[in-house]
């Protein structure tokens, strides 16, 4: 679907057809879910918030003027909702460890050398824990770069800051993660 198709669907929704919104939901639902999950780091909360993002977007459709792409507009709604939700929750470990990841961690604590797959699984788990240690702005800039693949300029536009600020935040976020994950990175990097 192109940007024009997005606009056509928005136009259809504004005429009162709820089902026209389906195309937009199905196109962007997973991206919005990832964005929200990356901020709140809680699967169930991320699912609830993803629904809220689209509900709020539908209710605010009239305010979408088409100056930016529909996804950029949707992203801002998602970002703000996720940020609010994150701030409301108390600071506690948010990482949901599924059974396979927990077993990997337990295995790593034993004296037996964990195998390559186990080490990798542990690294991923620790990356999530490391993300929790970042500030929300640092986390956002990492997610926009690594998950969305946005350029520095695009990130600066979304976060309403300069390219230099984006580079600085990304640099500090990566250094923080690198420091946090030193024991887990291959070759102790």
């Amino acid at each position: 679907m192109t940007v024009d198709e997005d606009s056509a669907l928005v136009h259809g929704c504004l005429k009162g057809s709820v089902d026209q919104f389906q195309g937009l939901v199905e196109k962007y639902q997973y991206r919005i879910y990832l964005l929200v999950y990356g901020i709140v780091l809680d699967r169930e909360l991320a699912k609830d918030l993803t629904q809220e993002v689209f509900i709020k977007a539908y209710q605010s459709l009239k305010s979408f003027k088409g100056k930016s792409s529909f996804y950029t507009w949707l992203y801002k709604i998602g970002f703000n909702l996720a940020l609010d939700a994150k701030r409301k929750r108390s600071r506690r470990p948010q990482i949901e460890l599924d059974e396979s990841r927990e077993a990997t961690l337990v295995g790593a604590q034993s004296h037996v050398q964990p195998d390559r797959e186990a080490l990798r699984g542990e690294l991923y788990t620790m990356i999530l824990r490391g993300m929790e240690e970042l500030t929300l702005t640092q986390r956002t800039v990492v997610l926009l770069r690594e998950w969305e693949g946005y350029s520095y300029q695009e990130i600066a536009g979304l976060m309403k800051c300069s390219v230099g600020t984006v580079m600085s935040r990304l640099h500090y976020a990566r250094e923080k993660l690198r420091e946090y994950l030193k024991p887990y990175l291959k070759g102790n990097l």
Binding site: I55, H171, R174
Partner: protein, 163 residues
């Protein structure tokens, strides 16, 4: 203590390493950084760390999506939207906010109406409103047509002269 040229270069390249990794450096600078990391162990290890972090983050994203798919948010969203009455009719917006009924507006309106009634009640058309009472000292010439109303009040005879 003076820094060696190599160390200086390493510091300079180090600040560009991230942009190099993200493919955001101009080509000529990217070539210089590429040459540097061929022999600088410290910078190449940093780059390797960035790579592992990226891979880890991508794997996490992939895991999350695999966990989620083929779940669709649409049925739940649709059910909520259909239950809500979302209207896209034109609204007056801010003006509507200003003119919604408020006690102060109602009070002001009533006051203005009362004042207008009092004001216009003083602008009596002589033929319709009674004059203040007076003693008639003289009556003008018969060519004037007068209508005389009499009313007794408080023991006084009040004559209204209307013309």
């Amino acid at each position: 203590m003076k820094q060696s040229p190599k160390r200086k270069l390493c510091r300079k390249v180090g600040s560009q390493l991230q942009a190099y990794y993200d493919g955001q450096l101009p080509p000529e600078k990217a070539i210089r950084v590429g040459e540097h990391i061929k022999w600088c162990e410290s910078c190449s290890r940093k780059l390797e760390a960035y790579s592992q972090l990226s891979q880890g983050l991508r794997k996490i994203a992939s895991d999350e999506l695999n966990h989620l798919k083929p779940f669709s948010f649409w049925p739940a969203i649709r059910a909520r939207l259909v239950n809500q009455t979302v209207s896209f009719k034109p609204r007056l917006g801010r003006m509507r906010l200003w003119f919604r009924p408020r006690p102060v507006w109602i009070g002001l309106t009533v006051s203005v109406v009362v004042l207008l009634i009092i004001f216009f009640s003083t602008l009596v058309i002589p033929s319709k409103l009674p004059a203040n009472y007076c003693r008639i000292e003289s009556i003008s010439a018969p060519e004037h047509q007068l209508m005389i109303y009499q009313e007794k009040t408080d023991g006084f005879t009040i004559i209204w002269l209307l013309e």
